[in-house]
């Protein structure tokens, strides 16, 4: 509802204030351009989807693995946690060209960029999930004679699942951004390439097509994760609404 109102007022504003379409195109123009250039665009789109899905999966796997290792080895956690946070302070925009210099124009530097963006939310939220496991449950499990591995598999892991999914949700939207940024730096295909070409030739309408596609894609990824969460975390549905 709010969205519809927003688009309508946008349309009306561009018409009444006679804003030139190279500055801000109207929504109708954007949709027209989107349909018109769909054939050219779809190749870019699939390339970006593949890249972000690939990066997202690798990134969240690494994120989960880091969380597992750091949780099960508290000493290592103490040593490496600051490093983990520092990795997020590296400006990706600066790092990405360097990665291209190091690893060429292939898939690898792009996947590294997405991984770097994706792993952090997953690992931090998973670790918090493990750590915040209710004392009661741990106490009972120990009294009942559970080993450290049983404690992890039967209590800490299921307890952390909801937070793992929060991390995955954040990462899934980041992955699209990561993919687009990595494509800016040198790629044959992808929304990022399309966007650079469009903006350098003042095709603002195409830039907006790209922006909307990125938003739709992020939203789609997000929804997929939510659906996945619903099938995996079945208990206590009321709490997660």
């Amino acid at each position: 509802m709010v969205l519809i109102l927003f688009f309508v007022s946008w349309q009306v504003a561009t018409a009444f204030l006679s804003i030139p379409s190279w500055l801000i195109p109207s929504p109708v123009e954007i949709v027209k351009e989107g349909i018109h250039s769909w054939n050219a665009f779809s190749g870019h789109l699939t390339s970006t989807i593949l890249l972000s899905v690939c990066g997202f999966i690798i990134g969240s796997m690494i994120g989960l693995a880091t969380a597992l290792i750091l949780h099960l080895l508290p000493k290592v956690k103490q040593a490496l946690y600051p490093l983990l946070i520092l990795s997020q302070n590296i400006p990706i925009i600066v790092l990405a060209p360097l990665l291209v210099v190091w690893f060429g124009f292939g898939l690898l530097p792009k996947v590294i960029v997405i991984t770097l963006v994706c792993f952090f939310p997953v690992s931090v939220s998973a670790m918090d999930g493990f750590r915040q496991t209710n004392e009661e449950y741990i106490h009972y499990m120990k009294m009942a004679g559970a080993t450290k591995m049983q404690l992890f598999r039967k209590v800490e892991w299921p307890h952390a699942l909801p937070s793992v999914f929060s991390g995955l949700k954040i990462s899934s939207t980041y992955s699209v951004m990561g993919a687009v940024i990595s494509e800016w730096l040198g790629a044959q295909k992808g929304i990022g390439v399309y966007m650079t070409l469009a903006s350098s030739s003042f095709r603002t309408d195409r830039v907006f097509v790209a922006i909307f596609m990125i938003m739709i894609l992020s939203l789609l990824f997000f929804c997929i994760i939510v659906l996945l969460e619903r099938t995996v975390v079945k208990w206590n549905r009321k709490e997660w609404k």
Partner: protein, 245 residues
């Protein structure tokens, strides 16, 4: 079958003596209650029996074998039900068995039926009332492979009515099976109503202050709660406890 003996158990934390040469025993098929003020080291005692810590001195024996510092030797029911919220009732009940390898779903189902939780096997703990959660936690302890039961103030979080219901329920189950039970509480009525023997602990450090053998016959009836005899016992224990206040 199952008996527990505690010999000269001592434990201190941060230089403060919590348990001081504590000795007592629970015989086969006996229901023994530890009664003491809050913070008198009852929990510490359970942690030692459960093997979470090692005592400074002394020994814990189950069926004549030392279990000092060994985890997983007893079936345990904690103060809060501690049912895992992502498991259904039946999965929770089976948890104790899972830890030691084999699960016996049939036995668990039989117990659930016998104890009035039938129809709730597939429910999640969040759908149960406080009393029902405690029942599930008790069944979990009962079907655990360990035969000695340790109950740590299991009804202290319940309201007065539910508590009496649960006590009667517990008696009805226990009087059929007669496993050996060590029960901890700070409620005198509860101790008198349920147990064969009551061990009163002193406050800081905990020593065995006095032992009472409860004379009421089994199966216990609710009306003893208001009998003259019950009240005079209660008075005596109360005086013993207020000795430290």
């Amino acid at each position: 079958m199952t008996s527990l003996s505690i010999n000269n158990l001592s434990k201190s934390f941060d230089g403060e003596m919590i348990l001081d040469h504590l000795s007592f025993s629970v015989d086969e098929g006996e229901f023994v209650t530890i009664l003491g003020p809050s913070g008198s080291g009852k929990s510490t005692l359970f942690h030692l029996i459960g093997g979470l810590f090692a005592p400074d001195k002394g020994e814990i024996k189950l069926n004549g074998l030392s279990i000092t510092g060994k985890q997983g030797s007893i079936a345990y029911m904690p103060q809060s039900p501690s049912l895992l919220p992502w498991r259904t009732v039946i999965e929770n009940v089976l948890l104790g068995q899972e830890l030691s390898g084999k699960t016996d779903r049939k036995k668990a189902m039989r117990m659930i039926e016998r104890t009035g939780l039938e129809g709730y096997e597939q429910a999640y703990p969040s759908q149960l009332s406080g009393g029902m959660k405690q029942r599930a936690a008790f069944i979990r302890a009962l079907v655990s492979p360990q035969s000695f039961l340790c109950l740590d103030e299991p009804f202290s979080a319940l309201d007065e009515f539910t508590r009496l219901d649960m006590q009667k329920w517990l008696l009805s189950i226990w009087e059929e099976d007669r496993s050996s039970v060590l029960f901890v509480t700070h409620n005198i009525d509860e101790a008198l109503f349920l147990s064969d023997r009551i061990i009163v602990l002193s406050n800081k450090p905990a020593r065995v202050q006095r032992e009472f053998t409860v004379p009421f016959p089994r199966p216990r009836q609710q009306d003893i709660l208001l009998s003259e005899e019950f009240l005079s016992w209660k008075k005596e224990i109360f005086e013993e406890l207020s000795y430290f206040a």
